[in-house]
Every structure is written in C-alpha cells, then in structure tokens.
Symmetry: C2
Subunit: 200 residues, 2 copies
Amino acid sequence: MRKGLVLVVSAPSGAGKTTLCRRLLSLDSEISFSVSYTTRSPRPNERNGVDYFFVDKETFKKMINEGAFLEWAEVHGNFYGTSLEQVKEAISSGKDVLLDIDVQGAFQVREKLGREAVLVFILPPSFEELEKRLKKRGTEDPKELELRLSVAKEEIAKAQAFDYLIVNDVLEEALDRLYSILKAERQRTFRRSDLIMRFF
Amino acid sequence: MRKGLVLVVSAPSGAGKTTLCRRLLSLDSEISFSVSYTTRSPRPNERNGVDYFFVDKETFKKMINEGAFLEWAEVHGNFYGTSLEQVKEAISSGKDVLLDIDVQGAFQVREKLGREAVLVFILPPSFEELEKRLKKRGTEDPKELELRLSVAKEEIAKAQAFDYLIVNDVLEEALDRLYSILKAERQRTFRRSDLIMRFF
C-alpha cells in the first residue's frame, strides 16, 4: 500500500485558492481536508469534530507546547491549528490530506514532514488582475487594498521555496495542473517502494 | 518563458512503454521525440534527418569521443545515440523532449542533465503478466523467455533510482499518470522562476 501525502496549497488572498481546493476534493476521493482546531466560537451551523474541533485558548496553548500541531497560526486574535497526529494517522493509512494554509504554515509543514509534504503556490495572473479581484470581493478602502497587495507581494516572493507554482488564470486549467501534481506525486518512487518490492 | 524538460521513459521489454510514449505524444503538442543517430542501415521507408540521422561507425565513435551524445547504446551490433546539442536546443526554446530508452541510457541522462531530466519507470503488473505478454509477442523459445524475464528483473531492481513509477495495468490509467507527471513537472518552481519574476 502506498503512503499518503500532504498537499499544501497556499496563495495570496484573491488568487482563487479556496475554489481550487474545493474543486480538487470533488474530483478525487482519496484526498480530504483534516479537521482543524480553533479557539474561535462555533457558528450556529458548525459542529464540533466535523467543521472544527472547538477548544479554549488555554487548551490550544497547551497543545502548542506539547508539539501537537503540524502547523498553527493566529488570525485576528483567534488560533487555528492542524493536528499532527490526525495527519500522520491519515497518511499512514494511505489517505492524502489537503491543507489550505498560509505561507508561514506551509513552511512549518515542510519543516515537520519534509518531502512527505508537497507545497503548491497559486499565483494570480498579475497584480492588476489581483487588484481587480480584491475590488470585486468588496475591498473598497484604498488603504486596505494597498495593504492586501503589499502582503501579496511579500507572499509571492516566498513562493520560490515552494515545490510547484500554478498561475490561476483559467480556473479549469489551474485545476487540471493541481490535480496533475497530486496524481504525479502519488507515483514518486520514494512513496511507492511497495510497487518494486512485489517483484522480489 | 519556461524551460523545457527531458522526459525519460524506461521499462522492461513487454511493459508497454512504446504504446504509452506514442499515446503521450498524440495528447500533447509541446513534447516530441528527438531524432536519434544510428549506425544501422536505413529501411526503405526511412528518411535521413526524419526517422534517424544515419551515420557510419567511424563518425559515431568520433561523436562519442567528442561528448556529442546525451546517451548512447550498442544494440545487436548497431549504435544508437541522442544528440546532446539537439536536446539542449529544444529545452532552451521551451520544448520538452521524450526519450524512450533503456535503464543504462536513463542513468546517462541523469548524470548529464541532473534535474532537467525526469525519469519514469514503467512496471508490468506482475511477472506472470509480463510472461504472458512476452509469449503473446512471439517469444516462444523457453530459454529466450527465461533470459528476457531475468533481464526484466535486473531492470526492475534499478527502478529504485528513477523519479517516478507507473504500473501499466490498465493502459488509460497508466497514460493518465504519465501525462500527469509531465504536466506536474512543468509547474516545478525551479523551472518556472519566470512566473515569480513577472511580479518584481
């Protein structure tokens, strides 16, 4: 049996990462999101253990200290983290895990999992297009827009450390590339020594 | 513009490599075979510079000494080789090159091109299936069959040094995996620094 892999997808806000990830999950049954831990309050329709594991800050910080997270981040005062144990269990049983996380989180995963993780960075076609998409999403305030674009630029500079780059210009093409990366990485020799061993 | 890559496909005889390579070429317009050099005589329908470059042994050996070949081999007393210059020109101009060569040739390419080459090994589903396919192709002599199977075993042992493994059980699935590898490798960050540079 092959070992699973962790597919990490990062992108600047507005590059279309979330749509790509959702579409990928609908195409393939062997990959799924892991359920994250968070300290934010559940919304009315959210269920503990399904959408998130909802924990208090004290618990979350204890988990950080115990090294329980593959990656974690603080966003607007709330903590979000991916359970290392949960991910390790999934890949040991031959399941792939999709992580839709930011650049810093991606680097935490690379550090912890090495080549068991595959890092993909989604690029917008251009800054002009990114600006257009952010405006369309309702980022009206010029200062806010300026900030988002400058953060995007910083993130794109770090894309050099990712394994793969995909420009999200035409969605179907970007999706085909992302799915190709997943399918190709499943055939990597170091993940598939089982295929050779059968002959000896 | 992205730089091209060299896709090397190797397999034991009977694994279905030739069919896979032909089908891949028909799917994608950015990859093509390079025209090899050979010392064997042209067949009636073969044209110099199209099917092969036909040269005499003296010329071929001179080319070996000059380091003109990316890889070369002697098969049944005839020499076959891939021009290093031709391949380098192709990849510099953003074209991908497909090489359908044996394990030794694949290792020569890896040595000369490093990660510009992508090494894929095609495996038969099992030894039993390989035996069946070889018999179907007319390998009737038990000694000849024995020899082919033992060569196959040696080659499969070397597959560990390839980048990717594909089992050719269902042809369409194997083809999809091979094409995915090509599409994924085109998105590798080290080949696509052009995509990041546009933002700076």
